[in-house]
């Protein structure tokens, strides 16, 4: 028998208490984590400009994406305060903290070399996780256990087993989770989902997700290099298998190394496949059959496919294809083909086989309604205050990330796989089931208590 993919949840330890705002955010138990659809309420309604009503955030990972978040968050002074920045790269954490303190005119924001210290700062209500993929689950589990809500970058986790463990832990502790699949908070995607689900394209025939390839070649061999001053390389690796440092194997490019991520399948795929999942009403399930092929570099530092071609089949019979298309390099788009024509919707463009389809798509009052969000941050902050679900909650995030990981496993094995979305296990393929999880480098694990 194979070990199960999921980990058992631990009991929530929260108890009823006087509901000060801070206490409410930090100690809300599973009992207070309601399951209704999100209600988008602009944060201005909460009177949050009073310091005691502001949400205090910690940023874990101050690289490209973390700094991009910071650019926005520093403009929301009335709503949030960033009180801590963690990065294993000293220059990154110190420059980010300095920038924040200059912006706020104080010294409240502290730099942290270890995420566990940031997670244990009591004033912090929520953390933004922007670390490399192999760290996501452990950063999140520790934060959840410390009573923090999460805004976590995509993909949710590195493996299917990690994702299920995160979902269960967040549920037991009643924590709010917002996944970084922000396209769910764009009106065009919301319109698309309601339109297609209402039959706007007639019978939906197939979905096609196109993603760019920027897995550039860096040679068939590489040289270990000295670790740069100020970078804690052992902590950067964390639960990932050990390897020596090399410049191209660290910041940003980690996503093309299979020990740390799964390439564009989970990077850009997390966006366009997420929209496919939403349209297909599969946020609590997923495909039942997956077949894929990837072009893998035969040597060199990068180990994820340079070109992908995966077919996901759903129980409804509608297939979703995910392919590399060099014409959309660095971008992604989702196309929906139905009896009445097609829609091609990306975050920077949209087109259709007939302009009338776009007009109909954007018209109000569709038959099928789905939850909406006008802004991904506001949706998160509102959910933190109301303990409602976010537009991209933990289970939704896990299901989308699972689709990405199913594609990655199908390409790695190069054969058709059958998947049971309810049990989260492959049917009749023991090797595939062994790939649902990855052992972690000591001392890290899903139950590690290293505080």
């Amino acid at each position: 028998m194979n070990p199960p993919a999921s980990a058992s949840p631990i009991a929530a330890s929260a108890s009823p208490a006087a509901l000060t705002r801070r206490r409410f955010l930090q100690r809300s138990s599973a009992a207070t984590a309601v399951v209704a659809a999100p209600q988008v309420v602009t944060t201005k309604l909460f009177g949050q400009s009073a310091p005691s009503n502001r949400i205090n955030l910690g940023l874990i990972g101050a690289g490209n994406i973390g700094v991009a978040h910071l650019d926005t968050l520093l403009g929301l002074k009335d709503t949030v305060r960033v009180l801590g920045v963690c990065d294993v790269d000293r220059e990154r954490r110190e420059s980010a903290a300095e920038r924040i303190n200059q912006e706020y005119g104080g010294k409240d924001c502290r730099p942290y070399a270890d995420f566990r210290e940031l997670n244990r700062r009591r004033e912090i209500d929520a953390v933004l996780i922007c670390t490399p993929d192999h760290w996501h689950a452990l950063n999140a589990l520790d934060a959840i256990r410390q009573g923090k809500d999460l805004y976590i970058e995509k993909p949710l986790t590195l493996t299917i087993a990690e994702g299920r463990a995160l979902v269960e832990e967040a549920r037991k502790h009643g924590r709010v989770v917002q996944h970084g699949t922000w396209q769910r908070s764009m009106k065009r995607f919301h319109d698309l989902v309601e339109f297609v689900r209402s039959g706007g394209l007639g019978q939906l025939q197939y979905v096609e997700c196109l993603i760019g390839a920027n897995n550039r070649h860096v040679g068939a061999t590489w040289q270990p290099e000295p670790v740069p001053e100020g970078l804690d390389w052992d902590m950067w690796l964390g639960p990932a298998p050990w390897r020596p440092y090399t410049f191209n194997g660290c910041h940003y490019n980690f996503r093309f190394i299979a020990d740390n991520a799964s390439g564009q399948m989970t990077n850009l795929g997390a966006h366009c496949l997420d929209i496919g999942q939403w349209v297909l009403d599969a946020d609590r399930s997923g495909p039942v059959e997956i077949e894929g092929h990837g072009d893998y570099p035969s040597s060199g530092l990068f180990t994820t496919p340079t070109r992908i071609d995966v077919t996901f089949r759903y129980a409804s019979g509608v297939p979703m294809y995910c392919r590399t298309d060099l014409a959309v390099s660095g971008n992604n788009t989702s196309r929906f083909f139905g009896e009445r024509g097609w829609l091609d919707i990306g975050y920077s463009k949209m087109s259709a086989s007939d302009p009338n389809l776009l007009r109909e798509m954007q018209a109000p009052n569709k038959r099928v309604k789905v939850p909406s969000s006008k802004n991904h941050y506001d949706d998160f902050f509102a959910a933190m205050r109301t303990r409602q679900r976010t537009i991209a909650d933990a289970e939704t995030a896990h299901r989308t990330t699972t689709v990405c990981n199913l594609g990655q496993i199908a390409m790695a094995l190069g054969r058709k796989l059958r998947w049971d979305p309810a049990k989260e296990e492959f049917i009749g393929d023991e090797m595939a089931n062994r790939l649902r999880s990855r052992p972690m480098r000591a001392p890290w694990s899903l139950v590690a208590d290293l505080a």
């Binding site: 087993a161 052992p439 000591a442």
Partner: protein
């Protein structure tokens, strides 16, 4: 249209003739072709890994009925004196895909050594059967500190309820470092009671 001065196209070689040439070339090289299993064992970080890629393709494409033969080849490579850290990590990752109880004794020896424990757990954590579970439980007595905490994580990943008594002792053992006692305590929260 080709000009009068254009060179003549090369003569078309029959497919059979091409195969004949390639076959002869291949046969001539065979004597010098290195053993890919040995090359996998001697893998270095940053070195050419094309032979490892070929072995990985062989592993993922092999039908379960042929896994025992493959497992034996992987175990033989793992036992080579020239096996490097990178080679061991690769071979254990392949054993994670096709390994069985047969491979557990070799992995059990590796998991008891903190220098090789992480690689061994890569395979032991997912190899089905009680033998792998027992190897991880037994390793608790040999390991200490971070490596022991890592082994506890693998035990929980396998949902090995037979480890509850050992984990309970670790949780209560004041001589153990906090990292081990804390991880054991949390492991007991995760593991089913039956």
């Amino acid at each position: 249209m080709a000009s009068a001065k254009s060179p003549s196209p090369p003569p078309v070689q029959s497919l059979d003739a091409e195969r004949s040439v390639r076959g002869a070339s291949y046969l001539n090289r065979t004597a010098q072709t290195p053993d890919p299993w040995k090359l996998c064992a001697a893998l270095e970080y940053g070195g050419d890994r094309s032979f490892a890629t070929a072995v990985e393709q062989l592993v993922v494409q092999t039908a379960p009925k042929d896994w025992p033969k493959l497992e034996q080849q992987l175990l033989s490579a793992l036992a080579l004196p020239e096996c490097t850290a990178a080679g061991r990590a690769f071979l254990c990752r392949m054993l994670a895909l096709v390994g069985s109880a047969k491979g557990v004794p070799a992995l059990a020896a590796l998991v008891r050594d903190p220098r090789t424990a992480d690689a061994a757990r890569t395979a032991l954590e997912v190899i089905p059967g009680p033998e792998a579970s027992a190897a991880l439980r037994d390793a608790l007595a040999a390991l200490s500190g971070p490596a022991k905490a890592g082994a506890i994580g693998s035990i929980v990943a396998r949902r090995d309820t037979a480890a509850r008594p050992a984990l309970t002792r670790l949780r209560e053992q004041s001589a153990e470092p906090a990292i081990v006692r804390g991880t054991a305590a949390r492991a007991l929260q995760y593991l089913p009671t039956t």
